[in-house]
């Protein structure tokens, strides 16, 4: 399978970024910025939910190794688990282009090739847009937007929006082509320090189009909402 061929790629990327050749000056320090969010709470159906989300980079001004890991545990089952490794290259003041791999353990073991951009859009919208091609040849797209509103220097409200679009039906994932699902929410955090911030988050998920129809046919919900509390760490 393609998965096996893809897996060594992140390692190669890591070597590439950390190798001296990729930064001309030996005094050039490596910097990093990671955000880790861990939260737990309940869904509308009183099921327990827990989420993790790691997002960040290590590298220099121009080239970075970008890592992401996110997933959700509902009840006792890991519903989703994604792990990404990308090379991120600064191409414009506010933008990086990225390429790499993503490997999902759940809901199905699937490997993807990723290409996309991340950066800050006008009016301070933190933006991520990525295309994926799976090892089965399926193509999809994801967009995520978030923006901070400061009530005080420490109390910050962050609305966010994320959606997925598929180019074709993917039976294994119970996904139909077109807009498959979207997630909107609000996170209210309190920055005790810039690095430590407890938060509460409400989030609403909805399935759309053929994806929603498939869920309907199986007798599953096409939407869900959760309320969670957690902690956000920066390091």
């Amino acid at each position: 399978m393609l998965t096996k061929k893809l897996l060594p790629l992140p390692l190669c990327l890591l070597v590439l970024i950390l190798s001296p050749a990729s930064h001309a000056h030996d005094d050039m320090p490596l910097f990093h910025a990671f955000r880790l969010e861990l939260d737990a709470g309940e869904s509308r159906d009183n099921e327990s939910v827990a989420n993790w989300n790691l997002d960040g980079w290590i590298g220099g001004d121009d080239n970075k190794l970008w890592l992401k890991s996110e997933g959700a545990v509902i009840g006792h089952n890991t519903e989703s688990s994604e792990n990404w490794a990308m090379v991120s290259r600064n191409v414009a003041t506010f933008w990086d282009v990225q390429a790499g791999v993503r490997y999902d353990n759940k809901p199905e073991s699937t490997a993807y090739v990723v290409a996309g951009v991340t950066g800050l859009a006008p009016y301070h919208f933190e933006t991520e847009a990525h295309f994926f091609a799976s090892d089965e040849g399926d193509v999809s797209f994801r967009l995520r937007e978030e923006k901070d509103f400061l009530f005080t220097q420490k109390m910050i409200l962050q609305p966010f929006l994320e959606f997925n679009v598929f180019a074709q039906d993917v039976k294994e994932l119970d996904v139909g082509s077109g807009l498959s699902d979207a997630n909107i929410g609000l996170q209210l955090r309190y920055e005790i320090t810039r690095k430590i911030a407890p938060y509460i988050e409400v989030s609403y998920d909805s399935l759309f189009g053929d994806t929603a129809d498939m869920a309907d046919a199986k007798g599953e919900h096409t939407s869900d909402s959760t309320i969670t509390a957690g902690i956000r760490l920066m390091f």
Partner: protein, 554 residues
């Protein structure tokens, strides 16, 4: 071959200096750099000391002296000492990688030897990593050989610095992690509604969208906060005090040895009136006496001022950082232990469109504007950065009023103009000169003896104190050619351009950088190479290293 010959010559020099008693014209100094526990804020912290002191000891030299300074590095990381504002052979300037200066490795000693060719108020500091922030800086006062044109009954060094509990490397890492990591005055939702109630929804929305569309913040005055501001290493509570007798003329050697902090400096008497300061020197060079009530003090600048406190009372030296996050406070008093008036914090300024360099308002249809919109436009066209909050009628120091004391030697106009664009990417905390970071930059090459005009074009929203090593520049400040003042640090205000003239009369490779420490560390640095011959840089290099191979490493 040349180098090893030079090295052995250097060794011979040292042997000779050990064997022969020092002539009256040469003084020898020993500086020992260590990492030691210091306690400034109540929390013991490991910082950089020189001769067990932070800040480093004040050095008093005399013009014409042949100084010999042995600097020993007892730390486990490389170090260096750079003589800020001093004209000397490039090899002695103390910047690793330039003029073959090797830096000072752990356990090593480097001996600086040069003839002091100038007088005035300067300072010295590490040019390695963030050691300057971490404590390696000290005052350097050079007395003139002849009669000092400035008469004073007594003198004090007043050196401002910004102390952080964090190490410089941590601060740099945090800025790279999030460039607004230290900004605790960001615009809030409440600020927006305040703006709505002050200016109406339309203008408030326009302000927010002007800044939002550019992905910038009007609160971006200083990149680092959390500092404790010090005078001569003392906190406001510890209250550094300079004594005087009423009626005396007191000369204050003021040095801004801060890593990142600009200040508004004033001296208050017991009735909250400003004590007149007469500026007599800027960056170590004499200027025609200029009385002021207050001045904005750029990072790495020095000013000598004369004051005449008439009453037997305490006067308060107030240095207020431009982001208004505290004060450096000291006292002038007839005796120790007195304390004067405490100032009130002035409001923090908000940047305007003028600080963005966005003055292109000509295409607006003014006739359609309401009175409020007109007033707002005028306000946006005035720099927020330059707003000090000083009482109306106070005389503030302006570069345009500085005049060289005496007559400049070189009255030539510039043969060519070199544009130096100051740029940056605040989002990623990358700072550039002519669009390039230090690592990518092409050096600026000058012919020996050439007269050039350097024009800084500041495309960022921050002021940059631009510093050239090894040579003074003359501010192109509108004074007659013979009166243009010398400076070694030039503040270039946000969104503005500023020109200086330079006679390239010191050969070598000279560091040319923003003196905000983390701007320099994030790329805002280049070098100016002055070549004696028309050939390549190496010619200049050889000239410098051949003759002056008298530094050595044990």
């Amino acid at each position: 071959m040349i180098r090893s010959y030079a090295n052995s010559l250097g060794l011979l020099w040292v042997l000779l200096s050990w064997l022969l008693p020092m002539s009256s014209q040469a003084a020898e100094y020993q500086l020992d750099i260590r990492k030691e526990i210091v306690n400034v804020t109540g929390k013991p912290l490991k910082k950089v000391t020189v001769n067990h002191s932070m800040p480093a000891p004040t050095l008093w030299w005399t013009e014409g002296e042949d100084v010999v300074v042995h600097v020993t590095n007892h730390m486990d990381e490389p170090s260096s000492v750079h003589w800020h504002g001093i004209m000397l052979p490039g090899y002695m300037d103390g910047v690793k990688g330039l003029n073959n200066y090797p830096g000072i490795e752990p356990g090593q000693t480097f001996t600086y030897r040069f003839t002091v060719r100038q007088s005035g108020t300067y300072w010295y500091h590490s040019h390695t990593n963030g050691q300057e922030q971490d404590g390696l800086f000290g005052a350097l006062i050079i007395r003139p050989k002849g009669i000092d044109p400035v008469h004073a009954d007594r003198e004090h060094v007043v050196m401002f610095s910004d102390f952080s509990e964090e190490d410089a490397s941590a601060i740099h890492a945090h800025l790279k992690m999030s460039s607004d990591y230290y900004n605790h005055a960001r615009r809030t939702v409440g600020d927006f509604f305040q703006d709505v109630s002050d200016n109406g929804f339309k203008l408030a929305w326009q302000h927010a969208s002007d800044w939002g569309s550019m992905r910038m913040s009007p609160t971006d005055l200083a990149d680092v906060s959390g500092y404790t501001f010090l005078i001569n290493g003392k906190t406001s509570q510890q209250n550094w005090t300079g004594t005087f007798k009423p009626g005396e003329t007191v000369r204050l050697h003021m040095i801004n040895a801060s890593a990142m902090s600009f200040y508004d400096v004033r001296i208050l008497d017991s009735e909250n009136k400003r004590l007149k300061m007469t500026v007599v020197q800027a960056d170590g060079r004499n200027v025609e006496p200029l009385p002021v009530d207050e001045f904005r003090f750029g990072v790495a600048e020095t000013y000598d001022v004369l004051v005449q406190p008439a009453e037997a009372k305490a006067y308060t030296i107030v240095a207020e950082p431009i982001d208004r996050t505290g004060f450096a406070i000291g006292t002038l008093a007839p005796k120790e232990g007195m304390k004067g008036l405490m100032p009130e914090q002035r409001p923090r300024a908000l940047l305007t469109m003028a600080d963005m360099g966005d003055m292109d308002m000509g295409d607006m249809d003014h006739s359609k504007m309401s009175e409020e919109e007109m007033a707002d436009m005028m306000a946006q066209m005035r720099s927020g950065w330059a707003k000090t909050g000083a009482p109306r009628g106070d005389k503030l120091l302006s570069y345009s009023n500085l005049k060289f004391l005496g007559e400049q030697q070189d009255l030539r106009t510039a043969e060519r103009e070199i544009i130096v664009t100051l740029g940056g990417n605040m989002e990623r905390y990358i700072w550039t000169m002519n669009g390039k970071t230090e690592m990518e930059a092409e050096p600026i090459a000058l012919r020996f003896g050439e007269r050039v005009k350097l024009t800084f074009v500041n495309e960022t929203m921050m002021a940059h104190p631009m510093h050239l090593h090894g040579m003074f520049v003359q501010l192109d400040n509108g004074q007659p050619a013979g009166k243009l003042p010398d400076k070694s640090v030039v503040i270039v205000a946000p969104g503005k351009s500023y020109s200086v003239l330079l006679t390239a009369d010191e050969s070598g490779e000279w560091a040319f950088h923003c003196h905000l420490l983390y701007h320099m560390a994030s790329g805002m640095m280049n070098k100016v190479v002055v070549a004696k011959l028309d050939g390549k840089d190496s010619h200049a290099l050889e000239k410098v290293t051949e003759g002056k191979g008298d530094g050595h490493a044990h």
